[in-house]
């Protein structure tokens, strides 16, 4: 059996591999390399650039708004990663226990994910402004309002998604280990912290990876909900890059340089996070 599959793979590999490879090249690799190149140039359109060396990068560190958006993004990512994962895990834990209507609730919790970020942003803007209206204020009152507004939106959208991943992980937990633990007299609390969570580490790795990178890359929701108001105090990294790119004539390269730095930050953070959580994974 295996050798037959091996044979056909050897013959047909190109059919399976090439389409993905081409898509990967066009959709990712080429733009990525071009993006790095463009960060060293001055350009209006991407096919028409001239080399300016490192000048796009100089002054980036002194850009106060860039720094502010970096701090804002880091805080946002920490808060959402914690809240989304704890809540997602808890909800999944509830729904894997015998509970009436669990399937319905799973579907309901997952649904926010099917709505696009821009639409979510506008819907939540209406909702939150309606609430703030009672005190004669709006989301633009201060950057803190925008921050918590974004946190609420993000949690609402992502908890259901992470829940699904956690549920999948929980359902494949080995029954024998659980049973052995309860026969040995472990309390439910002990089972949760000593057995379930360690065994769930692969799912936790995936979910934290997703929430951390989503937090850093957040753009649509930020654009629609606050658009940085007031005075760019609720602006995250991706929006700052976008605004740099289009805000002034001749700043496309600077925006691109910010994007390269942005990539480095996200890559480093994601790698560290991955290393940390995978190191905690155990075998049953």
């Amino acid at each position: 059996m295996i050798s037959m599959i091996g044979k056909s793979i050897r013959r047909w590999w190109a059919v399976f591999l090439l389409p993905t490879l081409v898509a990967f090249l066009i959709g990712f690799l080429i733009p990525f390399v071009m993006g790095i190149y463009l960060s060293f140039t001055r350009f209006t359109t991407v096919t028409d650039a001239h080399w300016v060396g490192l000048s796009n990068y100089s002054g980036l560190l002194a850009d106060r708004e860039f720094q502010h958006s970096l701090v804002f993004t880091v805080l946002f990512t920490i808060v959402t990663t914690l809240v989304v994962n704890v809540a997602g895990f808890f909800v999944a834990y509830m729904f894997t226990k015998a509970m009436k209507g669990a399937n319905l609730f799973r579907a309901v919790f997952f649904m926010p994910n099917l709505i696009g970020g821009i639409i979510l942003g506008y819907v939540w803007q209406l909702l939150l402004n309606g609430v703030f209206g009672h005190w004669g204020r709006s989301l633009t009152y201060s950057g803190t309002y925008g921050f918590w507004g974004l946190v609420i939106l993000m949690c609402w959208q992502q908890i259901g998604y992470m829940m699904v991943i956690y549920i999948a992980g929980m359902q494949s937990l080995p029954d024998d280990v659980m049973e052995a633990a309860s026969v040995d007299g472990a309390s439910p609390r002990q089972i949760l912290f000593r057995i379930t969570i360690p065994l769930m580490m692969p799912s936790i790795t995936v979910c934290t990876f997703l929430t951390v990178t989503n937090g850093f890359k957040l753009f649509d929701q930020n654009l629609a909900l606050t658009n940085g108001a007031p005075s760019n105090t609720s602006e995250m990294l991706a929006l700052n890059i976008y605004r740099t790119f289009y805000g002034r004539t001749g700043y496309e390269g600077v925006g691109q340089a910010k994007a390269v730095i942005f990539f480095l930050i996200v890559a480093v953070v994601a790698l560290i996070q991955n290393k940390l959580t995978t190191s905690k994974e155990v075998a049953a």
């Binding site: 209006t44 359109t45 991407v46 096919t47 028409d48 696009g116 803007q125 402004n129 703030f132 209206g133 004669g136 204020r137 709006s138 989301l139 633009t140 009152y141 201060s142 998604y161 699904v164 991943i165 999948a168 992980g169 359902q171 494949s172 937990l173 080995p174 065994l199 692969p202 799912s203 790795t205 995936v206 997703l210 658009n227 108001a229 007031p230 005075s231 760019n232 605004r243 289009y246 805000g247 002034r248 004539t249 001749g250 700043y251 496309e252 075998a283 049953a284």
Partner: protein, 448 residues
């Protein structure tokens, strides 16, 4: 066992990434590219989403008549620059595109070409309105003229004028900021009797509306300062903010005599302001001639609408006219073949001289055009009628000096400060700082 857990989570993760990836792909849908014709072809990148279908219809008519393929693409509102930047890097780049003024022209200086030998330039009533590049070549031709002012509801104003303590006898007597303020204060005071919620529509500061203030209202103090300094034609490197106190009293008036508390302005949109005016909840509304189509669609009567200039309290403003100008200039792409260029020029000629083209531009799109060939065209837009009357009178028209704003960042920073001032989280000094110091910084930052 561990293997299966890993497999499950890996599958889920792959699915997760897949879904996320796919959702990122949506939205960018484009109509199919221009079909290749044997002769030249035209590809027009249109700036105004509100007339997208009209341009497409017109293009189709032209193709039926002449066989030349005309492809019209329109970017979604506020994304013209993005769209144009990506279209321009394609092999089939737009042959005809738009810039918004001298600053926009700077972005595209490597792509514009000499258009002095084209029909639109020959037909231009006032040739000085065309934009030139650094070497003095004509590279951009305005094709729409628009006017901005304070639009008012005639019925409500008439009712107000009959009140015993009315500041004026008729709306036409409003000739200065002082009178405008007196009228607005009176309207606000008697709002219950008059059945309105406020004198002015809400000065919404969300992104759909902020250009009305950070850009178009700001043009008035800018113009008077430029006039003093003799730089109306050329962007100065620094400004002093001479008329910012007048700008402030106007902004205060908009905030005070309004339908909405200033602290809530961050959540109010242009649609809100538009419907407040259209439904008669407010009597005064700062906007331009283009807003007529929206008012008409909301059921507003043509004989009930009037427009006065934006008086902010500058000396000698009794003679001020509407703010008239354009942000719509045609440019022909330099980097196209001779055939395509010829086709584009022919198309433009047809648009502004043929009956079909003229009808489409003036009636269907509702434009006022600066071309001689349109002299015989009558408008159905009452605001345009007022603007035309104004342009023939001896008032001092304010040109659209806001096209000289050094960058989008400048404008955004100014209105952010105006918003913070309005909602009480910032002070006026910030507006002054961003207006004056920000100008110098931005001019410096965008220098080559």
């Amino acid at each position: 066992m561990q293997g299966s857990i890993k497999k499950v989570s890996a599958t889920v993760a792959v699915l997760a990434l897949g879904v996320a990836g796919l959702s990122g792909c949506g939205g960018g849908g484009k109509a199919d590219d221009a079909p290749k014709a044997s002769g030249g072809k035209v590809y027009y990148m249109n700036f105004k989403p509100e007339v997208a279908t009209q341009w497409e219809d017109l293009a189709k008519k032209y193709t039926d008549e002449t066989g030349t393929k005309v492809n019209v693409q329109t970017a979604a509102s506020g994304t013209y620059d993005q769209a144009l930047k990506s279209e321009m890097s394609k092999a089939e780049a737009p042959t005809l595109f738009q810039v918004t003024g001298p600053v926009g022209l700077k972005t595209w200086k490597d792509y514009v070409s000499d258009v002095s030998d084209t029909e639109p330039y020959r037909q231009l009533t006032d040739k000085s309105t065309a934009l030139k590049d650094d070497s003095g070549k004509v590279v951009a031709i305005p094709f729409v003229t628009e006017s901005i002012g304070i639009i008012y509801n005639k019925d409500i104003l008439k009712k107000y004028c009959q009140l015993p303590d009315a500041a004026v006898k008729s709306a036409s007597q409003i000739k200065s900021f002082k009178q405008l303020k007196a009228v607005a204060d009176g309207l606000q005071k008697h709002r219950d009797e008059l059945g309105i919620k406020g004198a002015f529509t809400s000065a919404g500061m969300d992104s759909s509306s902020n250009w009305r203030f950070g850009q178009q209202l700001a043009a008035v103090p800018l113009y008077y300062e430029f006039k003093d300094e003799n730089t109306v034609q050329k962007q100065p490197a620094t400004i002093k903010g001479t008329y910012l106190p007048e700008f402030r009293q106007m902004w205060d008036l908009y905030l005070k005599d309004s339908t909405t508390e200033p602290s809530k302005l961050g959540s109010v949109t242009l649609d809100d302001a538009n419907s407040e005016f259209a439904t008669g909840s407010a009597a005064l509304y700062q906007n331009g001639t283009w807003s007529w189509t929206d008012l008409r669609d909301a059921g507003f009567q043509a004989d009930n609408v009037g427009m006065i200039p934006m008086y902010i309290g500058v000396k000698g403003e009794q003679n001020q006219g509407l703010t008239t100008g354009t942000m719509n200039y045609w440019c022909i792409n330099k980097k196209i073949s001779k055939k395509d260029r010829q086709a584009t020029e022919d198309f433009l000629k047809w648009v502004i001289t043929s009956d079909d083209g003229k009808k489409a531009m003036s009636e269907d799109m509702g434009f006022t055009t600066p071309f001689k060939s349109f002299a015989d065209v009558k408008t159905e837009n009452p605001l345009v009628e007022i603007a035309q009357k104004d342009s023939k009178s001896k008032t001092e028209k304010i040109p659209w000096v806001h096209t000289m704003q050094p960058s989008a960042t400048w404008q955004n920073n100014v209105y952010d400060a105006m918003l913070e001032y309005a909602q009480g989280t910032g002070n006026w000094d910030m507006v002054v700082h961003r207006f004056v110091d920000g100008w110098a910084t931005e001019v410096q930052a965008t220098k080559d």
